[in-house]
């Protein structure tokens, strides 16, 4: 079983990202589970969402403490939340930031830094970075394919919004694949 933890702030679409990633994974043939850690439901507050991937039916219901992957939608969270908690060798951390900082990265964790806000603003016209980071996650982890991700986005959003979000996801996917991050 592989586990993903998404860190974001209320309103950034972390829960939606978890649901779409789980949907994309399931349509491509693995069991998946997505769920939020609901706290105080207000914009800007730190939130977490979780995804599990497995070849067998998933029974585990606890939150995720030792993730294989993390996505950080807002790098300012790193000041207040230990986003890397529980990560170990072989893990992948995807961080949205315009300027790479010095992170207290556990040994052996691969860091992918991407300016998802810039991509989202250019492609979608809004600083909502979840779909962009999903593209980066697909490329970095191999847990979901770009095609399945496109399908999940199309199912969730109306056509126009889906197109711009897919464009953002594709751009991030290509950047990670080509190592431009």
């Amino acid at each position: 079983m592989r586990e993903l933890r998404i860190h974001g702030r209320g309103g950034q679409g972390s829960v939606t990202a978890a649901e779409l990633i789980a949907t994309a994974a399931f349509t491509a043939g693995v069991y998946s589970q997505a769920f939020p850690a609901f706290g105080v439901e207000r914009r800007g507050a730190p939130v977490q969402a979780f995804v599990r991937f497995s070849d067998e039916k998933i029974r585990l219901r606890s939150q995720i403490y030792e993730p294989d992957y993390i996505i950080v939608q807002d790098s300012t969270l790193i000041r207040d939340v230990n986003v890397f908690a529980g990560m170990s060798e072989g893990g992948i951390a995807i961080i949205n930031t315009e300027k790479e900082g010095t992170y207290n990265l556990p040994k052996g964790v691969k860091l992918i830094v991407i300016d998802a806000t810039k991509i989202a603003l250019e492609e979608i016209g809004l600083p909502i970075t979840n779909t962009t980071l999903m593209g980066a996650f697909a490329a970095a982890s191999g847990e979901i394919t770009l095609e399945a991700l496109e399908g999940a986005i199309k199912e969730r959003f109306d056509a126009k919004l889906a197109d711009s979000n897919i464009a953002a996801a594709k751009r991030a996917y290509a950047m990670v694949k080509e190592g431009h991050v």
Binding site: A22, T27, Y31, P36, R59, R61
Partner: protein, 385 residues
């Protein structure tokens, strides 16, 4: 069988649609909200020919269900926590009137202090109301139990309302694969509602009349007998359900690696999934641990429990509720069921108000039980006491 991935609440709303209720009345409350929003959309979009009655409170929601059910309609409601507490009078009334209402409970803690998060105190609070109580381990069970509940409740030999309980957020808000049955299969299992009796201006009858001291005791006896009969009805229709849908519900208690277990964990609801994963890890270390999953809390399957646990050395009960001043409600029942067996039964109150329960907690509880340490709140943060 076609598996789809969807949110638990949406899967439940779609399943309720398949059961073809004619009247739905509910009041939104976290974490049940997505279910009633989903049903409101389904009715508004014309995907279900039902009356959706908007009300100003949970008290009214279930009151409307009483009227509709007594008039001969199949009805549905859903609630949780404070909503269920506000309904209390109507919960007992609907059961006493022997109306086959099905209500989803997205289990949540009770105030005060305010908590929107999961435990099972809310449905346990209604333990003595005369409703059937089923508990789902995952969303597949949650939707299957909705269909099964209508079948059991509407049996003319039963005529009772039922809670289908599923852990709030943990199940209601999780996306996971579901086999949503076809309308044809649900229709073939359930058929249209055939009320035993109904309100009819041409042939007037009354529900919930005065019962003088000459009659009240007998009403309560018959109600109690009906709840007890529901055990066999659930088994019978649970087997029939399995033959049609491929998932068996003919047992009220389900063992997991229990046959040769020395220590048994007893639990209800979604925590059973985490317990199973913990058991697999403990088994790999050579520890003979098993699970007894209680799918049905009312009627309480005492004989089935005693039989399933007869061979174990130690019983650890996980209670996501507490009868303050006594023990957890499940442990009280398990002790009664195992009375005379000399198997020690230890109670662990845990996971209240959304406190996360991990595999390591289950392992720790097994260690405590095997050392004879129990009847405690597990996982207390001593520094805040």
């Amino acid at each position: 069988m076609t598996m789809e991935i969807m949110e638990g609440s949406i899967a439940i709303a779609e399943t309720v649609r398949l059961c073809r209720p004619q009247v739905i009345s509910a009041y939104p409350i976290t974490p049940q909200t997505h279910i009633v929003e989903g049903l409101a959309s389904i009715v508004a979009d014309g995907r279900l020919d039902a009356e959706y009655i908007c009300v100003e409170s949970e008290f009214s929601a279930l009151s409307a269900c009483i009227g509709a059910s007594a008039a001969g309609s199949r009805v549905y409601s859903a609630t949780t926590s404070q909503g269920l507490a506000l309904m209390a009078e109507v919960v007992f009334n609907s059961a006493g009137m022997r109306l086959p209402i099905v209500m989803g409970i997205a289990n949540r803690a009770i105030s005060a202090p305010l908590s929107i998060w999961n435990d099972q105190q809310d449905s346990i609070m209604m333990r003595d109301s005369g409703w059937i109580q089923l508990y789902a381990e995952d969303n597949q069970e949650a939707i299957d139990m909705h269909i099964l509940a209508y079948k059991v409740c509407e049996d003319h030999n039963i005529l009772l309302p039922a809670f289908v309980c599923f852990d709030g957020f943990i199940l209601s808000h999780v996306y996971e694969p579901i086999d949503l049955p076809s309308q044809e299969l649900v229709d073939s299992f359930l058929g249209p509602f055939n009320p035993y009796q109904k309100l009819d201006a041409k042939d007037p009858i009354s529900f919930g009349m005065y019962a003088t001291p000459e009659y009240y005791l007998e009403f309560r006896y018959e109600h109690d007998q009906a709840v007890k009969r529901a055990a066999d009805a659930i088994k019978k229709y649970g087997k029939e359900f399995g033959e049609i849908f491929g998932r068996d519900y003919s047992e009220l208690v389900v063992g997991y690696k229990l046959e040769d277990a020395e220590t048994a964990i007893v639990a209800m609801g979604s925590i059973c999934g985490t317990v199973k994963d913990a058991i697999d890890e403990m088994r790999a270390e050579g520890k003979k641990v098993g699970l007894l999953n209680l799918r049905c809390f009312r009627p309480f399957p005492s004989t089935d429990v005693a039989k399933a646990l007869a061979h174990v050395n130690t019983i650890a009960v996980l209670d996501k509720n507490v009868s303050l001043g006594a023990k957890g409600a499940v442990a009280i029942e398990i002790k009664e069921a195992c009375y005379g067996s000399n198997i020690p039964v230890y109670d662990y109150i845990l996971g209240l108000g959304g406190r996360d329960v991990r595999k390591r907690d289950i392992k720790k509880i097994v260690e405590l039980a095997e050392k004879g340490e129990g009847d405690m709140f597990y996982g207390l943060r001593e520094e805040v006491l």
